[in-house]
């Protein structure tokens, strides 16, 4: 098969070959990837090993226990497919990222988190078994109580410990397929963080949005959204309609995301929420996956693509840490227009799991000439605050920065070397950041 361009969600491409078999049985011993929603180079092949296996056709359910909700499926099963099957029956994933276009294997490999991290942790903490093929060709099972070391390195291990063939985890009963959402307008970053921490006590799901272009007194103005599943008496009996699906038809010209257009957009958005508080019922598709209805929305960022910067600033850095972060961003002027801030609960025992107690900040950045310098500056700040970045989003972090942030990396590399001494499983990202 001819080489093709393979890219992550940020549309930074490498040359390589992508196999897409219907069964993972005979797959070659190379990196697996799912739906390619990681922004950077996590799912891209390393130059020295240019083949990847796309798992999305291996999407069969192995078993579902309707009494307990335990689901076992092939790694390529997507969340959108799972939701179509199980939401109408009253079951939902215990942890959902912000898009449903992810595979189970990808959810494990990135140890994704959702709006409920402060209560429920990452996806990996709900996984009971993984079926894997490791570098020497053996197929084995691992879990929290079986081959624990391999399991903890595979969860959040970005596919580097072996191939995830099947995933078993518990779906959760939901009272109705609807949610109650309360959104609150906040005037600046200090109020935002205070509200975020306060609502975490009462609401199982929280997330918020901040206008990154606002400065001075309104630095960090935005909304905070809080949600919970609606009870039967609060929701209609009908099943919510899926959002219509439209496709971003072309790669947008760069001026579309220039400072004035974005400023106008943010101004309109902020002022559309003129009430201090809004409460309402919302369907799960709008609530969890507001961007999923525009297919290929990443093309809106133009030919050079985008990257997402996501870091966690620990509670120990104090509530001022977020303000300092935004000030650095603001001083560099309009690199990003929206940022999503949410709070994180306890750290997972998985070696490279991203969240730790604190707040997570995520921003989409259109790739420009100064992107590397911006990421370097943000990383230096995060390093000073004792935070770290999320591998599933990263494309530009320098290895020395990552190694300084990620104190658990040597322990992870040790486990990885034990299971894959020849480093058959590597990605463009692992070569860039870990050296192999």
């Amino acid at each position: 098969m001819a080489n093709t361009r393979i890219g992550g969600w940020g549309r930074q491409f490498v040359e390589g070959e992508e196999l897409q078999p219907e069964t993972l049985d005979g797959a070659p011993p190379v990196l697996f990837r799912g739906l390619g929603r990681s922004y950077g180079d996590s799912s891209l092949p390393a130059a020295s090993s240019p083949v990847v296996v796309n798992t999305t056709r291996a999407n069969r359910i192995i078993h579902f226990d309707a009494a307990t909700g335990v689901l076992r499926a092939e790694a390529g099963l997507s969340l959108v497919d799972m939701n179509r099957t199980f939401l109408p029956r009253g079951w939902f994933t215990p942890v959902s990222p912000g898009t449903s276009f992810v595979t189970l294997g990808g959810m494990v490999a990135a140890d994704v988190h959702g709006k409920n991290h402060h209560v429920d942790g990452c996806f990996g903490s709900h996984v009971t078994r993984l079926k894997m093929r490791v570098a020497d060709g053996r197929v084995l099972e691992c879990g929290p109580d079986l081959e624990r070391e391999l399991f903890l390195a595979t969860v959040a291990g970005m596919g580097l410990t072996g191939q995830i063939l099947e995933v078993e985890f518990g779906l959760r009963r939901i009272p109705t397929p609807w949610l109650i959402q309360e959104s609150e307008r906040v005037a600046d970053i200090d109020e935002y963080i205070a509200c975020l921490k306060q609502s975490a006590k009462d609401w199982p799901m929280t997330v918020g949005w901040i206008d990154c272009l606002a400065r001075g007194k309104s630095l960090g103005r935005g909304f905070l959204m809080k949600g919970r599943w609606a009870q039967a008496h609060e929701a209609p009996a009908r099943f919510p309609k899926e959002l219509p699906n439209i496709r971003m038809p072309f790669t947008a010209p760069e001026f579309l995301l220039s400072r004035p257009t974005v400023q106008a957009f943010n101004f309109a958005l902020y002022n559309s929420h003129w009430q201090k508080k809004k409460v309402g019922r919302v369907d799960p598709f709008r609530f969890f996956y507001p961007l999923d209805f525009v297919q290929d929305w990443n093309r809106g960022y133009g030919k050079r693509g985008l990257t997402q910067y996501q870091c966690v600033l620990p509670d120990s850095a104090g509530s001022e840490a977020a303000r300092r972060f935004l000030e650095i961003l603001s001083a560099r002027g309009g690199a990003s227009f929206l940022c999503v801030i949410k709070d994180c609960g306890p750290e997972s025992p998985a070696y490279l799991s991203f969240p730790k107690p604190g707040i997570s900040i995520a921003l989409d950045i259109a790739v420009r000439d100064d992107t590397q310098a911006l990421i370097d500056a943000l990383n230096e700040h995060v390093l000073r605050e004792g935070g770290r970045i999320y591998l599933a989003k990263d494309q530009f972090t320098r290895p020395e920065h990552f190694k300084a942030m990620e104190t658990r990396l040597p322990a992870f590399q040790e486990v990885r070397a034990k299971w894959d001494p020849e480093k058959r499983f590597k990605s463009a990202q692992s070569v860039r950041l870990f050296g192999d």
């Binding site: 897409q20 078999p21 069969r60 579902f64 099957t85």
Partner: protein, 247 residues
């Protein structure tokens, strides 16, 4: 509620179609040659199907005509009847490969033409015996017009399409509904590695079109639908154009 047997239902378009059937409550029997794959797909359909849906499997190999009758009889028993038979299985190879390898060419021609028709004959008899039924077979747009990249494959599919049209003419009045599906380029493992042309479809979209055609009894259905227009244009092209065209 339908009771459907699908030959080739563990993969590609057959897999997508089988899921649509069980999701709306139809009973499905999968026919194929790999017992492990059949068992895996059976479990998948049972988990996805509406409560009470029945899923059966049977070994059947398009290369072995002796396997056809016992396979159909077995799943007919398992589903307590059979009113719909679907064939999605086929052999595919590029023109270059088929030209280089006469053994492969012979196998493709035998499986996609002769053996598929022999299987359909078994299914036809079974369905006519019970008074009515639907036979839905995946042919290809490759059978509509001879083209450079599909000389051999297209020849087999042209023959298959002609057979299915004949069945429709001869037996529709007796209760047999024939649905000839002509998929255009669909992104499945079968077409992996080929350059993706415009209007390429995906299996789920094709499955939806096909299930609607089965319910409506449409004799010929293109999937994705745009391929009807594409093939009309290609069929209208004169020979001197086709000799120069690359497609």
């Amino acid at each position: 509620m339908r009771r459907v047997a699908i030959l080739g239902g563990t993969r590609g378009m057959g897999r997508a179609l089988a899921r649509r059937f069980v999701e709306r409550g139809d009973w499905v029997a999968l026919l194929g040659r790999d017992a492990d794959e059949l068992a895996r797909s059976k479990a998948d359909l049972e988990a996805r199907g509406t409560p009470g849906v029945r899923v059966a499997v049977g070994l059947c190999d398009l290369e072995d005509t002796n396997s056809f009758r016992p396979a159909l009889e077995g799943v007919e028993q398992a589903l307590e009847g059979l009113d719909t038979v679907v064939v999605t299985a086929a052999v595919f190879a590029t023109q270059e490969k088929l030209e280089q390898d006469p053994v492969l060419a012979h196998k493709m021609l035998t499986v996609d033409f002769a053996n598929t028709i022999v299987f359909c004959e078994e299914a036809r008899k079974k369905l006519l015996l019970r008074g009515s039924g639907t036979l839905c077979v995946f042919s290809s747009v490759a059978g509509d017009r001879a083209r450079k990249p599909v000389v051999l494959y297209g020849a087999a599919k042209a023959g298959l399409s002609a057979y299915l049209e004949g069945l429709d003419h001869r037996y529709r009045s007796q209760g047999l509904t024939t649905v000839c599906v002509k998929p255009g380029f669909v992104k499945t493992a079968m077409t992996a590695g080929l350059p993706i042309p415009p209007f390429a479809g995906d299996p789920d979209e094709v499955a939806q079109t096909v299930i609607e055609a089965i319910d409506a009894g449409t004799p010929v259905v293109y999937a994705p639908a745009i391929w009807r227009a594409v093939m009309t244009a290609i069929k209208a092209m004169p020979r001197f154009v086709m000799r120069r065209a690359k497609f």
